[in-house]
Amino acid sequence: MRPNWAEQMSEDDEKQQSPPSDLEFTSNKARNCNATGSGSGHPEFQPPYPDQVLENVLENVLHFVTSRRDRNAASLVCKSWYRVEALTRSELFIGNCYAVSPRRATARFIRVRALHLKGKPRFADFNLMPHDWGAHFGPWVLAMARAYPWLEKVYLKRMTVTDDDLVTLAESFSGFKELVLVCCDGFGTSGLAVFVSKCRQLRVIDLIESEVTDDETDWISYFPEGESHLESLIFDCVECPINFEALERLVARSPSLKKLRLNRYVSIGQLYHLMIRAPQVTHLGTGSFSPLEVAGQGDQEPDYRTAFAACRSLVCLSGFREIIPNYLPAIYPVCANLTSLNFSYANINTEQLKPIIRNCHKLQVFWVLDSICDEGLQAVAATCKELRELRVFPIDANEDSDSPVSEVGLQAISEGCRKLQSILYFCQRMTNAAVIAMSKNCPDLVVFRLCIMKRHRPDAVTGAPMDDGFGAIVMNCKKLTRLAVSGLLTDKAFDYIGKYGKLIRTLSVAFAGDSDMGLKYVLKGCPQLQKLEIRDSPFGDAALLSGLHHYYNMRFLWMSSCKLTRRGCQEIAHATRRLVVEVIRSADEEEMGDSVGTLYMYRSLEGPRIDAPKSVTIL
């Protein structure tokens, strides 16, 4: 197996992937070129001096090269460049933790200061993967403890992190500054406590949509006394009570604190106290946004509005976890400056939204529940002309509920928010016409994710499949890199995607298509495809095999509840050793003969992993 390290270890999410290629150059070539020009030293042995100069120059130049893609390219020029690039890369991004081993990564890149590591595929979020599947941070932190004493930042997504890992992290890197855990699990408040107590240089601790076990440890009290360097403290996903007095003291002694996102155990009264201590915040998660107890008639409530008015730099607002809408007017003073507003946990209706959104002229990112209805979306469209990203979540995530948003809301948004780049929209009914309208009105769309919750639902007006709508999206949105489809879809939709979706990198398919042709169109037509996740669609072995030429260029392929057989997956596994082919059995599934429940396949330099649980078979 010929290693292609640059490709494997330096993936780029947003930019184009460089095709796999091998190192052909040898350093002798470079040396000879220089030797002829130098005119000094014996002609017999290679003079080190010009090399040294070259490498020094290169090292200095490469310091300015930060983009992963550029670095990948640089490392492929010749061995010399490869070596220097490896020496100077300080931010290491690994899109699939099983694509390369910690040992290999730390052997190549020796001066890493920041690690960005991703584990499980996205469908793990929806209970489609066994709980103990893998993506353990343990081996990585141990390897880095040996290799990178100057490590400062760790960013993990969908990894399992244990309390011990957090302790190792805190104890191994004296200058550790930033920890960001997104969609992670496996640790609890006791691990957090040790971590924050030992990281004296900590600037950022962001826990985002992660599962944190409540070990009943008061982790907030473990921050060291004295002035803290904290710039960001995000714990809105932590589902356990917090020691408010300790939190208040911490905020009071953190003059650099810019981002503060509280969990739902912080009442609005407590929020008030924190805000007056930290008016410099730019990002605020408001916690529950309701009082601890119902305020009596004569009770003096703080002037929340003034507190918000004092936060002149506030641009990003979220939280509202248990919102009592009466308190909403308190945020009026900051609306005009807001660029990001997250109401996705706030059950508010159209009338409650309107006075707020009317003032949010600068809003670029808006997350909200469908409780605001189509009329609420119309209000958004009327004011938020700068909107770049919209996410509409369902309050009732049930196939058979009534959804208060529909094609009407989508149409309105498309007409009002012309600069839209990213949309995630949950609904029960949709029409091709509205989707086509969006494809024409919002040419800057990069991400289009439409989830019609009722499976196989056709156009609500014409009864036709939703093929034409999605077809228009891929045809008209020339910058589209991410697409999620839903509703009743035939192979025609995939034909469109294959023909026009030339920049698509991530594609999510569920309950769609008629036959193998659907998948074949996509595998044949989309050269930039990186992540393909499919569930419950009638694609079988023939379709799977048709993509063999492309799989090594992808980060992963996920297919669950399709028509794959063991034999088909086995064929792929035999065809190349560069892919790891995992067949995952769900707990309630018996061995149903030859058919495969879930296929998860990814490229790797390491071959089969050794930490797979019993439910996973690696072919």
Partner: protein, 201 residues
């Protein structure tokens, strides 16, 4: 009443679907893989217990029942695992808020080992453990025995257990009643050797 209305709506939808020309996956409308507790419930799984649950409970756990206190889903439809694609955290969060908002009782499912189907009871109408246990005994025609603090249930082949918010299976009766009704998600009356193993011999 509400359940009836929902059923009518579903029948209308069903008719539309029947006349629709489509080439979907055969049986794709049928209940999909059932969502079992062993598939991750945001916490560590109690796989042994769920193993028991599956083998001992009726096979019709998620299917149509003749029970009046139905789930919101129409009778012959089961919940599809992981659909719609919303992260569990968000789904549970909003579901809890919805339940609180509706305030229409605190219905939890009750299963009994060996019984062919489940029942549902409204925890809000009871004010104490003895009341609840008496109601369960009447409903299922069995004896649960006496609860001895710190020991468990004495004098019977049955013991009542419940699943709490964390997904763990606990013995009924250890925590204060108020705390219990807010954390109880479902009940299961276990029988035989497991029941005896739970504390009191």
């Amino acid at each position: 009443m509400v359940a009836m209305e929902r059923r009518v709506n579903y029948e209308n939808d069903l008719n539309l679907k029947a006349t629709e020309l489509r080439l979907g996956l055969p049986g794709s409308d049928e209940p999909e893989r059932q969502s079992t507790p062993s598939i991750r419930n945001n916490k560590r799984t109690s796989s042994e217990i769920s193993e028991e649950l599956r083998s001992k409970s009726s096979s019709g756990v998620k299917q149509a029942g003749n029970d009046d206190h139905q789930d919101d889903a129409p009778p012959t439809k089961a919940q599809v695992v992981g659909w719609p694609p919303i992260r569990s955290y968000r789904k549970n969060y909003l579901q809890n808020k919805k339940n609180e908002a509706e305030g229409a009782g605190m219905y939890v499912k009750v299963s009994v080992d060996g019984a062919p189907y489940l029942r549902k009871i409204d925890l809000k109408i009871y004010r104490s453990y003895p009341e609840l246990l008496k109601a369960l005994e009447n409903m299922f025609k069995l004896t649960i025995g006496a609860y001895i603090e710190r020991k468990g249930y004495n004098g019977s082949d049955y013991a009542p257990t419940y699943e709490d918010k964390d997904g763990d299976w606990m013995l009924v009766g250890d925590i204060p009643w108020e705390m219990f009704i807010s954390s109880c998600k479902r009940l299961r009356i276990i029988q035989g050797s497991e029941a005896r193993g739970l504390g009191y011999v």
